[in-house]
């Protein structure tokens, strides 16, 4: 009897291992160069005061991603596929253009992250950026989906560096505990701006597309759906824990010393005298890993999304001649993204501004489309949203839309 139960547990665990991947990877890429910079700033400028906001952010992440995962499992189609079929070519093309634009901005930011993290180790960007672009390109063009996913999952492990550096910074755990249990509500414009930033970096349109596409590519059957959901939840929890450690590292060191930072590399450099060489090195290495990771996934996901919506052949199991648009677009995004970083005096801030504004325009459309699709009985049958979940989802989306718009406006202002 006990053996039976154990056997079933074990079998269920094995299925989870097979299904695991899309959710964890998607969430982790979310902690990219931009995300780490935001968390560092939140910790450095507000101490542990905003730590609690990560919990609702985690819930939002779970609610939105669960819907993507569910649509992928039930329909076996990608999100741009579904949008094209339901909303027609016109909306799809403009939406895809928006996603292309905002993703391209993010890709540039990722390569900037690679450059600045390696500059902490005194590596010139003229060496690091071309090499990393080549590495990223080869990985995807020469790999298959399965091998690429394994490498990506392995990259997720390196986020542990942030947890280690968190311990090295010797924070006051008692204070952290109380700040989580008894959230301090700070309504100053600065703090509100920071909260908006935290949410704004958390949900990006490409994530929903990427998650759904990789679930489809894995061909996860409906009966294994609960494992896919667990994958999403585990991913969101990991991301929140890592983000929390970044905040508390900076809170324990930079905030105490009253140092203000604007980027993640700034934070790494500032950590050196305060928390020691190793803490700073781990912090910078984490940034390098995150940037490289996101720099491989963002162009890939962008190429996927666009080819799927336009009806062009796509997928890592196709050869270059079979899917020229897919590989062409991917290559262009990687090398153009990396190339811009090498230009003298790049207006990085302006690039990010455009990218964030477009992001703020595209995200509401994607989220509303998702809600319409997931409530379609024709598409989802018995798996469409329940009443309660639907209410939660609409409220979540509404909050997200308002905050993202505010974030984009803050960038402009």
């Amino acid at each position: 009897m006990i053996k039976d139960v154990l056997g079933r547990r074990w079998k269920s665990f094995l299925i989870f291992l097979a299904v695991m991947g899309p959710g964890i990877i998607t969430s982790n890429v979310d902690n990219d160069a931009g995300g780490i910079a935001t968390y560092s700033m939140a910790g450095a400028h507000f101490g542990n005061g905003l730590l609690w906001t990560l919990l609702p952010v985690m819930l939002v992440l779970i609610v939105v991603q669960e819907m993507s995962a569910r649509m992928g499992v039930v329909t076996g189609k990608g999100l741009s596929d579904l949008i094209r079929e339901r909303f027609g070519v016109r909306l799809t093309v403009y939406l895809l253009l928006g996603i292309l634009l905002t993703n391209f901005g993010n890709i540039i930011a990722e390569f900037a992250g690679v450059a600045s993290s390696l500059e902490v180790f005194h590596v010139s960007k003229f060496v690091s950026v071309p090499l990393s672009a080549l590495l990223v390109w080869l990985l995807v063009v020469k790999g298959t989906y399965r091998s690429v996913e394994k490498i990506f999952l392995f990259a997720c492990l390196f986020y542990v560096t942030y947890i280690v550096s968190g311990f090295l910074a010797k924070p006051d755990w008692g204070v952290i505990g109380t700040s989580l249990v008894r959230p301090s509500l700070d309504f100053s414009p600065g703090a509100l701006g920071m909260v908006i930033g935290l949410v704004g970096t958390t949900i990006a349109p490409w994530m929903q597309f990427y998650l759904q596409a990789s679930i489809v590519e894995k061909n996860i059957p409906v009966r294994d759906y609960k494992h896919a959901r667990l994958d999403v939840i585990v991913g969101s929890v990991i991301v929140t824990v890592v983000a929390g450690f970044i905040v508390l590292t900076c809170a324990a060191t930079l905030f105490k010393a009253g140092i203000r930072v604007e980027t993640a590399a700034d934070a790494a450099l500032a950590l050196k005298p305060l928390a020691g060489r190793y803490c700073a090195a781990l912090f910078a290495f984490g940034l390098l890993n995150a940037s490289l990771f996101a720099a491989s996934i963002l162009p890939l996901s962008t190429a996927f999304i666009i080819c799927e919506g336009m009806g062009w052949e796509n997928g890592l199991n196709k050869r270059f001649s079979e899917a020229p648009q897919f590989y062409g677009l991917y290559t262009l995004l990687v090398f153009a993204g990396a190339g811009i970083i090498l230009l003298p005096r790049i207006p990085l801030f302006r690039v990010m501004l455009v990218s964030q504004v477009v992001n703020g325009l595209v995200l509401p459309v994607v989220l509303v489309f998702m809600l319409i699709l997931i409530n379609s009985p024709k598409l989802m049958g018995e798996h469409r949203n329940g009443k309660v979940f639907n209410a939660v989802a609409w409220v979540t989306v509404a909050v997200l839309v308002v905050l993202t718009a505010a974030y984009a406006l803050a960038f402009v202002g």
Binding site: G76, R84, E85, G88, N219, P221, G311, G381
Partner: protein
């Protein structure tokens, strides 16, 4: 349009959304869709679906009721507005916008899946028919309203214009957009059969789940069996599971018993037993026999299609036995000769059958030195035997030295390829 003997092409996107006016000029709504009855080579779009903003449900009318398409509006014949009826879609009917536009279809000429960007219609003898489907970038640009400026730009830059990518309707296989309507559309999935099973396998791999199973279910038993063997192993299981048990066992029965056994061994036990239960008796016994052997042994990969005859029989008997079976050639390259108690005594080859006298006894002609393997031998050991002797097939014996089956060169290549 009736009565006009002119021939005219137009794109569905140009027709879509045009205002529909009565003969008196009253506005009845806009064109929302076209209903097409499949079956003919270039199917007739007999029904126009129109919709008004205030309408809850669309209404439709016969194409023959249209007076003219000229200008920017569709004008109906006098009194046609009284013939407006609610929309009903029959079993072999599809809606162009709902089921075709922006959806995936199979291009059976290029053996690939494409997305429909536009539909090219032909008006001939007052009837509207689907002529081509537009898979190209021009279709997208036309629908975005960018075709004219981009054509002008392209012409200025390169000369000429962006190429059309139209496929004749006879090479287009529509797929179901709504999983629940799959059964209806199965009637129309006939064109899939124009494709080679390995192409069907590629297409199935690229489809979404609902269409995957509906396409698979539409295949006849033979084709389904061949397709199943070509498809990505990770999909095989889910495909066979979607087929009805009766059909699934028929599909397996049209395979070689050893191949069928390979499939069954992968299935959950319950499913396997249901499938075996519905098989015909002789096939079932052979498959069950094969399933007894452990994975990775000679017994598990052998085929039970072979010819064995007693040593007292003649060449004429052997020729007769050869005629009676339809086994693949490599399984009948050798004829096994048995002695007392069905034990293997020797082997004769096809060459003997052709060159020796009809009355000669097999026992006198046979080569008594036969290289054999045992049912429990590891696949690797069997591969070594093939490597050393370069045979087309090797007999598999049990501990009583009776022949249980043979392993052909193809069996061993497949088995070792799977291990790699």
């Amino acid at each position: 349009m009736a009565g006009q003997e002119t021939q005219m092409f137009l794109y569905f996107s140009e027709l879509l959304g045009r205002p529909v006016l009565s003969s008196g000029g009253a506005r009845l709504g806009r064109t929302a869709d076209l209903k097409v009855h499949l079956g003919e080579l270039y199917p007739r779009a007999g029904t126009l679906v129109i919709r008004r903003r205030s309408d809850k449900a669309p209404r439709c009318l016969d194409w023959g009721q249209i007076e003219s398409l000229g200008g920017k509006a569709v004008v109906l014949r006098p009194g046609a507005e009284r013939g407006l009826a609610p929309l009903e879609v029959g079993p072999a009917e599809i809606l162009v916008r709902e089921d075709l536009l922006d959806k995936q279809v199979v291009d059976t000429h290029g053996a690939r899946i494409e997305r429909v960007n536009d539909v090219h219609l032909l008006i001939v003898h007052g009837e509207l028919r689907i002529a081509h489907v537009d898979f190209g970038i021009r279709g997208i640009l036309r629908r975005l309203g960018w075709l004219r400026p981009i054509d002008a730009f392209w012409g200025w830059l390169f000369g000429g214009r962006i190429a059309d990518k139209l496929a004749s309707w006879k090479y287009v296989q529509p797929l179901a957009s709504d999983p629940k309507r799959n059964l209806k559309l199965n009637v129309t999935l006939r064109r899939i059969h124009d494709l080679h099973p390995s192409d069907i396998a590629d297409i199935i791999e690229d489809l979404d789940r609902a269409n995957r199973s509906s396409v698979f279910r539409a295949l006849d038993t033979e084709t389904a069996a061949e397709t199943l063997q070509e498809v990505d192993p990770r999909l095989q299981l889910s495909l066979i599971e979607t087929a009805a048990p009766e059909k699934a066992s028929d599909i397996l029965e049209s395979m070689e018993p050893d191949e069928a056994k390979e499939f069954l061994a992968e299935l959950p036990e319950e499913k396997m037993e249901t499938l075996i239960g519905t098989m015909e008796k002789p096939f079932r016994e052979r498959v069950e026999g094969l399933l007894r052997y452990e994975e990775g042994t000679a017994g598990s990969i052998m085929t039970t299609d072979f010819i064995a005859l007693d040593r007292d029989r003649t060449i004429a008997d052997a020729v007769e036995a050869f005629r009676a079976v339809l086994h693949p050639l490599e399984t009948v390259a050798y004829i096994y000769v048995t002695g007392e108690g069905q034990k293997l005594a020797g082997v004769v080859t096809l060459r003997h059958l052709l060159l020796c006298g009809r009355e000669e006894k097999l026992g006198a002609l046979m080569n008594p030195h036969v290289v054999t393997v045992e049912t429990g031998d590891a696949v690797g050991a069997v591969a070594d035997v093939f490597n050393k002797y370069k045979f087309l097939a090797v007999p598999v014996l049990d501990d009583q030295r009776t022949v249980q089956g043979i392993i052909t060169l193809q069996d061993i290549v497949q088995a070792t390829a799977e291990e790699l």
